[in-house]
Amino acid sequence: MELFNSIKSEWLKTRKSAAAWLCIIGGLFIPILFLIGFIYNHETLATYGEEGNIWTQHFFQVWQAMVMFLLPMGLVLATSLITQMEFRNNTWKQLHATPQKYHTIFAAKFIVILGMTGQFFLYFNLGFILSGIIPSLLFDKALPNVEFPFEQFLVSNGKIFLTCLPILALQFLISLKFKNFLVPIGVGLVLLVATLIMVGNWEYAYLSPYSYGPLTMMGSPEMMEKINIYWLSVIYFVVFTTISYAMYITKSEKG
């Protein structure tokens, strides 16, 4: 119950925040671009042709644009913005003077970040579906005439979500440690760009915690056979979260 109340209070803090806007805008950005492209060219999902399920083709096209750069960058920004909110507003002392256990505060913050990432996925999928449906209704006067592979999309979303976890955990760690907002953002962007250069050029690129999103799309079959990026994501997530917690709980100045 205490954790639930803490989550509710943490969630309230994200209202009207830059991270909340980033979540909405970031989630809808690529689907809207696709929608505009379809409308501008008077195309619908039907133009993808006969090969394979047109929804699946659309799904991977939209996600490909997202997971390569925008999603990891969004995660870097949003996690830093939410975590740094306490430093920016000088509110750590207020938060730590409330009757909440330290591990509850830590968990509530991290759960809210995970929740916002989930919210982003929701907006993105909603945008993806609408970007398929709206042009079909406009130009074909009918819904796409193929089965919607709901289960496959759910699994794929789950897998992409897993690849986000190491980034979230590492950014959370850096944002808790450093007062200066530029540190988590700077470190995140530098590591992300370096990872994008490494992916495809270096066989050990999978060692970077930022690589798993891009690898889902760009990973060579040989590399993907050798490693399981989802397990690696979970391992990094657990390691980074444990380090963050140890750092947070042993901090001698709590505000």
């Binding site: 920016r88 507003n89 002392k93 207020q94």
Partner: protein, 300 residues
């Protein structure tokens, strides 16, 4: 009974710099305790230690007669605080800032409107706290501190940024909370004049050490002790001889002689002796140190 007790509280920021040295605070239940000291004396560090915001290095802290570390949650449920600059979420309105605490303390939603009314911020509507003046931010911080009707209120320089009217309002509010709700209030300040009209007890800290602790009456007694008598006469030397005969050591200050405070009968007797020796007595006056000068003397 004491609401807050610290025993031999000592704190270093590094090996050479001792910030607090053997602090033994005694904040009685139901009191308004003024914690005074110049900037950098160690007030905020003491308050941060009391609230668990700084890791204690040595000494003991008890609040409501319970050791703080082992009872942190129970103690904080009954404690409201404002430490240094206001702690507010700038992108949220006053109401939303209070709603965050309402979720944690699980108090009634109607309490939000109540505390906004108490601090005079009912009309701020959707305006975000970031756009508030410093005085409004300070008042919202007080609202946040009293949201859950705490038994103990710890306020670090709550009048910072307030105009004279705001200071008077704050003083009245704290007196009212103390009287009507029985709240024990520990309030720090670097200005004695600002809190002397409100507090029942005073602790003065300087360079990390408590140099005075007691009731306001104790401080007034100290004020009495530090007062002196000034003589202005026609003959300084003869007057000095009379004072020496009476066992008093005088300090010559221009055309005046000053001696430590003595009782009225003795003043009258000395005056009689001076007149008998045909020394013209122009003025005998009592010079009282105001509390502010005592404070300044103590922290020198």
């Amino acid at each position: 009974m004491n609401c807050i007790t610290t025993e031999n509280l000592t704190h270093h920021f590094n090996k050479n710099e001792m910030v607090l040295d053997d602090i033994n605070l005694r904040v009685p239940q139901g009191s308004i305790y003024g914690f005074l000291g110049p900037n950098g004396a160690g007030k905020t560090t003491t308050l941060r230690l009391i609230l668990g915001l700084l890791k204690k290095q040595s000494g003991a802290i008890s609040i409501f007669n319970k050791p703080f570390a082992a009872n942190r949650i129970d103690i904080l449920k009954k404690t409201g605080s404002l430490i240094e600059a206001p702690s507010l979420y700038a992108h949220l309105s006053a109401q939303e800032n209070l709603a965050i605490l309402q979720k944690i303390y699980q108090c009634k939603k109607s309490r939000i409107a109540e505390v906004l009314q108490i601090v005079g911020l009912s009309d701020t509507g959707k305006k975000s706290a970031g756009k508030f003046s410093l005085g409004m931010k300070q008042r919202l911080s007080i609202a946040m501190a009293i949201m859950h009707e705490p038994e103990l209120l710890i306020l670090d320089e709550p009048t910072n940024g307030l105009d004279p009217n705001g200071i008077i309002e704050m003083r009245e509010l704290l007196k009212q909370l103390n009287k009507e709700k029985g709240m024990t209030i520990l309030v720090s300040s670097h200005l004695l004049a600002e809190i002397e009209k409100m507090v029942t007890h005073v602790g003065i800290i300087n360079k990390g050490k408590i140099i005075f602790q007691g009731t306001m009456d104790d401080l007034h007694a100290a004020q009495q002790e530090s007062s002196f008598i000034s003589f202005e006469t026609g003959n300084i030397e003869l007057t000095n001889n009379v004072l020496i005969q009476n066992g008093l050591h005088a300090v010559i200050n221009g055309s005046r002689l000053t001696i430590p405070m003595i009782n009225k009968e003795k003043i009258a007797a000395i005056n009689e002796q001076l007149v008998q020796q045909q020394i013209k007595v122009y003025q005998i006056s009592t010079v009282k140190n105001d509390l502010e000068s005592i404070f300044i003397d103590l922290v020198k």
